[in-house]
């Protein structure tokens, strides 16, 4: 029997290879978030203190919208030529596919964040007053919160007629607690206040929703 971790690895490698060749997700995400940064920088002209107050919200809203682009692409590849059916008839466990997709999306969104964050810092002249390493933890936890639910709801909306609209409609409301925690934690780190409570909330959110998605994904995958 195939090993679940082996299948997760093979699927992840396959997805990274497909993305490397097509660059569908990363190009659209980059272009989209670049637009957001530029538009926001024209809209606001904050001083350093105001930047610290609003940057958390701007950054995460930009990443949330950009992530939706990647999340829609992930499953679009699987329904072209109905490749998903080849997975469904195989003995490979559903959760291996889900984890590979979620990890793949995590990598794509992380790459985007790594490329866009210096631009945000530059445009808004950001300098955190709190411990900067905590921003990395918030970024990792926040990104996972976005992609784990996003991967799940993108799969759920796969067979709907207007799936590109359906995904944000399902994803945004359920992401509100995570988004709140991400924004508050980022703002608190930038302004030098404590962010541990928000980080703990984000970690709990990740654990709860990862577990729920893993339990429910097989039903979603095999839904007709």
């Amino acid at each position: 029997m195939p090993s679940p971790t082996g299948i997760t690895r093979a699927t992840l490698v396959k997805d990274l290879r497909l993305e490397w060749r097509s660059k569908d997700a990363i190009n659209s995400m980059l272009f989209f978030s670049l637009l957001v940064v530029v538009v926001f920088s024209f809209s606001f002209d904050p001083n350093a203190e105001e930047s610290r107050q609003i940057a958390g919200g701007l950054i995460w809203v930009a990443f949330l919208f950009a992530a939706v682009v990647a999340l829609n692409q992930t499953w679009a590849r699987e329904i072209r030529n109905q490749v998903l059916d080849a997975y469904r008839v195989s003995p490979a466990p559903a959760n291996s596919l889900f984890l590979a997709k979620a990890i793949g999306n995590f990598i794509f969104v992380s790459v985007l964040e790594a490329l866009m964050t210096p631009l945000f810092v530059l445009f808004y002249q950001l300098r955190p007053l709190g411990p900067a390493w905590q921003l990395l933890v918030v970024a990792a936890l926040g990104t996972w919160a976005l992609v784990v639910n996003g991967t799940f709801f993108a799969a759920m909306s796969l067979r709907t007629r207007s799936r590109e609209i359906m995904l944000p409609l399902l994803l945004f409301p359920i992401s509100i607690p995570a988004l709140l925690a991400m924004v508050q934690a980022t703002t608190n780190i930038l302004t030098g206040e404590g962010a541990r409570v928000w980080m703990a909330l984000l970690l709990s959110y990740d654990l709860v929703f990862t577990t729920a998605c893993l339990i429910l994904f097989e039903t979603v995958l095999n839904a007709e």
């Binding site: 093979a10 699927t11 290879r17 060749r21 097509s22 490749v83 059916d85 469904r88 007709e224």
Partner: protein, 228 residues
């Protein structure tokens, strides 16, 4: 044809199978038994229920009512590693080469030996060293690559939906001979096709479907109305 020493045992049993899509019944109480080591051609007009039957046998579509038993198992997942499925779409990633596709699907079946991937591609008359992505294959090559993917796990049951569509006559003949040889190895093969004449002389049985039901099963390619 089938080796005499291979005991024909039922590999698939369907009992009063009904599949409804909303108010439309695609399958209306199909009951049948299919034995091992045979090549079945499933024929019928568009909308007769051929693809729905095949998808139900492949575990992709859940019956509204009725039962399907595949290799003695009621749950398809228990025997899925012994079934190969080829759909009308290619079930392949267009951006990857044939071998890359094959290697990925091999992992899903726990096959670590890459030589099996190359062998299954060669078996359908393609070159495993072809680096061109599948998206640039001709339709016929894509069909053959799709068959190679279905053969990858050396399945006991092969379910093929329109394997000859858009394939030139010569290549289709090669595919039929391959299916004949596969059947002779004791595998059971189901072929849904509109090109039944290609299987004349190779198929063991022609299963005629109409309006979601099996209306006749014949040993030669004679439409049910001509039987008597």
């Amino acid at each position: 044809m089938t080796d005499a020493h291979i005991q024909p045992t039922p590999v698939i049993t369907v009992s009063n199978l009904i599949k409804q899509f909303g108010r439309f019944a695609a399958l209306r109480g199909v009951t049948a038994e299919f034995t091992s080591g045979k090549l079945y051609a499933i024929l019928g007009d568009n909308g007769a229920g051929k693809t729905t039957l095949l998808r139900t046998l492949a575990g992709l579509s859940q019956p509204t009512s009725g039962q399907v038993t595949v290799l003695g198992a009621r749950k398809f997942h228990d025997v899925c590693h012994q079934v190969g499925y080829m759909a009308h779409p290619s079930l392949l990633y267009d951006e990857m080469s044939g071998l890359e596709n094959s290697e990925y699907f091999a992992r899903l079946y726990g096959i670590a030996d890459n030589s099996r991937c190359a062998a299954s591609i060669r078996a359908v008359g393609l070159d495993p060293d072809l680096v061109r992505p599948v998206g640039q294959y001709s339709q016929g090559m894509r069909q053959r690559m799709s068959l190679a993917r279905a053969l990858l796990n050396d399945p006991k049951i092969l379910l093929l939906d329109e394997p000859f569509s858009n394939v030139d006559v010569h290549s289709a003949g090669d595919m039929v001979r391959l299916l004949g040889r596969t059947r002779d190895q004791g595998k059971t093969i189901f072929v849904v096709t509109h090109q039944a004449s290609l299987l004349d002389g190779t198929a063991d049985e022609f299963v005629w479907m109409e309006a979601g039901q099996i209306v006749a099963r014949t040993r030669d390619l004679k439409p049910p109305g001509v039987m008597t």
